[in-house]
């Protein structure tokens, strides 16, 4: 026998308008086991909550049903009332008669009838509810940040400053990410290196940050509060503890490869640091380019190294770090525009992509900041092409969001550094950020020509073989334009890192259609993921500019902190359990679980559940043929009882 209390909310007129609330309470009082049934104007108000609390005491209630708005609104509110009154919070049932009854009908009779049916279902289910205990686990206080771009750097510093130990894992040999490649940042035009390199240095110096460059995550075990993450340290062939960064090795090295840092515009050595301000400022050997690895002899670097830091025998090593939370900030790649043959990238030397141009502007870049074409001459006319592969069903549907602004920045820098005519070919200018519209106005006044029309083709000029012709319709005049230029700059789509899928798999993240990591909720949980304890920041979530990336990084750091700041963590109690007496050892549960929570106990011959991994979806319970798996709070009996109650009226 249960003692159930039913509390019907009017929600002002929101419910009372189309449900006869007092009739509903009257009806409830006739149902078996209901010892008290009341209606009240606003059940979520303080007096409403107090009424419930009083009745729990007065009537010795052991189950409470609140007939009000959606459980997604106020379940937590009323659970607290139960808890405060000494009743297990899982003995609460919410009947949703607002969103799913009163708001979707105008008919008082219909509304009341449906509310009665729902309430009846809730009463039948309520009797079978069991008190549940939230699981409490210890929390590891450390955090891992994956990705050493501006997002990862920012998040790591924020967390480290609170005293947390942070592992910053970066796959390249230096941190800095794409931002370190830029010369200036829009719209303020402040120097990228000037604002970034101090942060990079702080990372290196910070006593709470363990910087792990040339590292990749190879396995993730565990769960929120207790992740065990295996990290592969790729062989660098240089002992960074011994190396004193004299860089004699890089001078002598005969091996060459294209510089990733300079977007392939120049070559670098086989033993190299990517750029002068790299952090850590220690070289690594590129196995593919190294003469010794290719031909079996050379070892020049070894000969000149006074520290004896070169070690050709070095192997990849694996280590495990234990953390309580993870921030994924893996950033982006630019799409390969060679696939879009109409723009001639890779075919005509005068066609550049945006990152290459960033390097051309950069004083530490291949041309020391001079804007010159590949043949060393200065361009006289430059066309900047927007939306290359973005907003395009043939390649990437999303807007890459920052291209409009960096294209404007490019125009400004071209004007500043050359005497060229600069043309922008655009569809729309999207300048929705602080100071962005003002920046757009400024660029217009700098006499940059804006042509509204997407470029259809870049071709070689027939009359002047060194030049290119850009063909487009100016959609404002309807005229077809053939514009001779010397340089074409493409603004390619920003896409997830090529290994984003692996990262998603490792951390159990969902990805959207374009492959960006999915947030838990687009508005209310933009930095959380479906993986508890794993947060995302920066462009790996979707294209965004530096201010937004930094804001996200700070946010993600704060979110991670909310987990690791606690010693203990309470997890939802609605997990599953196995009744070993009924388990038929079919192992279906083990096969289907997306989280690997069930496992087969071979000696006992039954499945068991690692409750820390269980998210409570109940999939295993429905594939269990012998009904041995009990999905707490949604047990077979509870669901069936609710169905019976619902179908009775």
């Amino acid at each position: 026998m249960s003692r159930i209390g039913v509390f019907v909310c009017h929600c002002g007129l929101n419910i009372a308008k189309t449900v006869r609330v007092s009739e509903l309470a009257q009806f409830a009082s006739t149902l078996p086991d209901v010892v008290v049934a009341k209606d009240y104007k606003f059940m979520c108000s303080t007096p409403g909550q107090e009424m419930i609390a009083n009745d729990i005491r007065e009537h010795r209630l052991d189950r409470v049903i609140v007939t009000a708005c959606s459980p997604l609104m106020h379940e937590q509110t009323f659970r607290k009332v139960l808890a405060a009154s000494g009743l297990n919070q899982y003995l609460l049932t919410i009947v949703n008669i607002r969103e799913q009854v009163s708001w979707v009908t105008h008919d008082l009779d219909e509304g009341t009838a449906k509310a009665k049916a729902l309430l009846n279902g809730a009463v039948s289910r309520s009797r079978l509810l069991m008190p549940l205990t939230s699981r409490v686990i210890d929390v590891n206080p450390d955090v891992m940040v994956l990705g050493g771009g501006i997002a990862g750097i920012q998040a790591a510093l924020e967390l480290a400053n609170t005293g947390r130990k942070v592992y910053l894992v970066e796959k390249n040999s230096t941190i800095g990410g794409h931002m370190a490649q830029f010369d200036k940042t829009f719209p303020t035009l402040d120097c990228s290196a000037c604002i970034l390199t101090p942060k990079m240095d702080s990372v290196l110096q910070h006593k709470n940050i363990q910087l792990m460059t040339s590292c990749e995550v190879s396995e993730v075990k565990g769960f929120v509060g207790n992740f065990d993450i295996t990290i592969r340290q790729k062989a660098r062939y240089v002992d960074h503890n011994k190396c004193n960064a004299c860089l004699a090795c890089t001078e002598k090295c005969p091996g060459k490869s294209v510089s990733e840092w300079d977007e392939g515009l120049v070559k670098r050595k086989a033993i190299y640091i990517p750029f002068p301000q790299a952090v850590p400022q220690k070289p690594v050997i590129d196995r593919e380019a190294c003469t010794f690895f290719k031909k079996g002899k050379c070892r020049l670097c070894e000969k000149v190294c006074e520290q004896k830091a070169i070690d050709f025998g070095e192997q990849d090593t694996f280590s495990t770090v234990k953390v309580g939370a993870v921030i994924v900030a893996t950033g982006y790649d630019l799409m390969d525009t060679r696939d879009l043959i109409q723009y001639g990238y890779g075919k005509y030397p005068g066609v550049y992509n945006a990152l290459e141009v960033e390097r051309l502007f950069n004083s530490a870049g291949p041309t020391s900041g001079k804007v010159t074409l590949r043949d060393g001459s200065e361009p006289k006319a430059i066309a900047i092409l927007h939306c290359i592969g973005s907003r395009d069903k043939n390649s990437h549907e999303h807007c890459s969001r920052v291209c409009c602004m960096y294209s404007l920045k490019f125009a400004h820098l071209f004007k500043e550094k050359t005497s060229a005519d600069v043309y922008q070919f655009y569809i729309d200018i999207r300048a929705a950020g602080k100071g962005y519209e003002e920046f757009y106005n400024r660029i217009i006044e700098e006499d940059v020509k804006f042509i509204r029309g997407k470029v259809a083709r870049v071709a070689k000029s027939v009359d002047e073989p060194d030049r290119l012709i850009v063909e487009a319709e100016d959609t404002i005049t309807g005229k077809f334009i053939k514009l001779p230029v010397d340089m074409v700059v493409l603004s390619p789509a920003m896409i997830p890192r090529s290994n984003a899928k692996d990262v998603a798999r490792l951390f159990n993240l969902s990805t959207d259609k374009q492959g960006f990591f999915m947030e838990r909720h687009p508005k209310l949980a933009p930095l959380s993921t479906m993986s508890e304890g794993v947060f995302i920041a920066g462009v790996c979530q979707s294209p965004k500019d530096i201010p937004d990336t930094v804001a996200q990084a700070n946010g993600a750091a704060a979110e991670a902190l909310t987990i690791v700041v606690k010693d203990k963590l309470e997890l939802e109690a609605t997990t599953v359990m196995v009744n070993p007496a009924s388990c038929c050892a079919c192992q279906n549960c083990v096969r289907v679980c997306p989280y690997g929570a069930p496992f087969f106990n071979e000696p006992k011959g039954v499945s068991e559940i690692n409750e820390a991994l269980c998210k409570g979806c109940g999939l295993c319970a429905s594939v269990c043929p012998s009904s041995a798996i009990i999905a707490r709070h949604f047990t077979n009996e509870q669901v069936l009882a609710e169905m019976e109650g619902l179908m009775e009226f």
Partner: protein, 288 residues
Amino acid sequence: MAVSFQQIEEKLKTEARRLLESGEVSLVLAWGKGYDEKHPMPYVAKCPSDADGIVFNEYCTHNPARYLVRYPRGTKIAVAVKAADSRAVVQLIQEDKVKRRDLVILGIPVYGIKNPKTGELIDGKTTCGLYNPVLYDVLIGEEVHGQPVSSPYAVLAEYEAMDRDARFAFWKKELDRCIRCYACRKACPMCYCDPCFIDQRKPRWGEKSPEPAGNLMYHLTRFHHLAGRCIDCGECSRACPVDIPLYLFHKKVAKDCEEMFGQAAGMSIEDKPVLVNFRMEDSDKILE
């Protein structure tokens, strides 16, 4: 060429004796003498001398794979199987109920098995209609070729074409007759749950006593539990004392599963049971 049951029996005995003598297996599952010639029984040989008790004749319909799950995991077992029986073994391996390495499969290609109750030849109408085992270690006899091959689903055409109300009436009449003796699930090599869902008290999925609603719940759920797993040996129907043609429903579900998921039960140990599996490219069409 006609199958010589006598020869198969001899070979089975020899093989069983050898396996037990060498200690390769600790038991051999096959058929033994029943109360008369027409009713051989499932049989377990546990020592070399037991091998003499093995029988093989045209009435050996039972599916010895049924008994594999009775023994502790890791027991080395030799199991004699006809074609459909071998699919049960494959399916049990897929489901990790037995390990391939623990089994010696004695495959018997055979044609001409008869239903002891009716004397009718057992073919694709009531079973999967295969003659040769799909998996074996030792082949007992020679592969059967040249016998008529029929689709195991051809028999369904008549029922699929039925008017829906008539089909409901047909099944209602059949299932209402069920006396809930559970011979079907006893005979089924894939029904290894203990307890069966219908015997549970929490929740009580349906009435235990024979009455229409409980019967419907028991059988429909059982059809679902066997979806993509039933290997169409037809034993459930032969075991049924009131002759409910359960095999028809199982065949229908097997056909649907094969059409929707492109995989038949018990054909390859590499497969994963279809209902605990998915493909991203599964189509919503299957829900229409």
